[in-house]
Amino acid sequence: MNNTYLILGIAVMAIVTYLIRVTPMVLIRKKIKNKWIKSFLYYVPYTVLSAMTFPAVLYSTSSFVSAAAGSLVAIVLAYTKRSLLTVAVCAAFTAFIMQIIM
């Protein structure tokens, strides 16, 4: 593979990604009044994060069992309102321990 292709390819990825991110932020300067659109945008963070997490989280480590154990710990800790970092570290630690003992 030559470097010209590699650099061109990386540039294409970077430009496409940036245009997606910058367009709404720069073009939409007014607050949206429409109730449906406001409701729609209110729900987006929760739907997009939930869709990304399940079922992908169950395949995020090298074994299903360790991922499931980590997920369970994450859900319980999140339900008791622990901080993001606590939840993330405890889930990863649980997965790590499970991988060692299984």
């Binding site: 990386i10 991110r21 729900y43 997009v48 993330a88």
Partner: protein
């Protein structure tokens, strides 16, 4: 520049940067092992700042795919940032100038978006400057570290770190879902549809990037139609 808000932004951004460091190490590791030069892995992370988009892009680059295919795949996988940017455009202070908007937009990722959405009040320039400062650094340095340390990391450690980011997503969604029935319904429906899209015949041939876009649009649209937010919820979101 308001110092208090800037520091709050830094404080909110730092856990993201730390999370990114471990995840992008996996990216740097993968790219270095696949035979691409280390500088290219670092350059990709520095200019793209995405996870799934980068992995897919590298796969296409390795197969010497056409640049149009690369562009289209990147577009589909990263299209959700359009929704996030749209959502954030409603929360940033209206007077924020175009240059600041152009700079902050670069760092709109799933995590930066999620954290900014749980920030109380409007997103000021000072807060945003602090928030977007460290995640790109963590992401780039992690990639470099992973690529360089390819042979030193015990595989069991790096593979168990993959769950950290998803755990963070869980920690973002569950507390508000516990308080608000509609958020709970929206989250459960999205998760359920995602599971169906993943395993069901025919549907599972749809790429995960597309699935996430379709599910996000469909569930959010349906929820907005059947359960439009009341004024007090709206206040919570602003």
């Amino acid at each position: 520049m308001r110092k208090q808000e800037f520091l709050q932004g830094i404080k909110d951004g730092l856990p993201i940067a730390l999370g990114y460091f471990s995840v992008s190490m996996a990216f740097g590791l993968t790219v270095a092992l696949s035979g691409l030069p280390i500088w290219s892995a670092v350059l990709i992370s520095m200019t793209n700042l995405t996870s799934a988009g980068q992995f897919a892009g590298v796969n296409i680059l390795l197969a010497l795919g056409a640049l149009t295919e690369l562009a289209l795949t990147t577009l589909i996988i990263n299209l959700r940032y359009f929704l996030m940017s749209l959502s954030m455009s409603q929360r940033v202070e209206e007077k924020m100038n175009i240059w600041k908007r152009m700079i902050f937009s670069f760092a709109i990722t799933d995590e930066v978006f999620a954290v900014s959405m749980q920030h109380k009040g409007i997103l000021t320039s000072s807060y945003m400057a602090g928030l977007v400062l460290t995640p790109p650094i963590g992401w780039t340095l992690g990639t470099l570290t992973g690529a360089v340390l390819t042979s030193f990391m015990p595989p069991v450690l790096s593979s168990s770190m993959g769950i950290a980011l998803y755990a963070m997503f869980i920690a973002i969604v569950i507390p508000p879902a516990r308080e608000n029935k509609n958020v709970m319904i929206a989250s459960l429906m999205a998760a359920l549809m995602s599971v169906i899209f993943y395993y069901a015949p025919i549907l599972k041939s749809i790429s995960s990037g597309w699935s996430i876009i379709i599910i996000t649009l469909a569930v959010s649209a349906a929820m907005a139609f059947f359960f439009p937010i009341a004024d007090e919820e709206e206040g919570q979101n602003e």
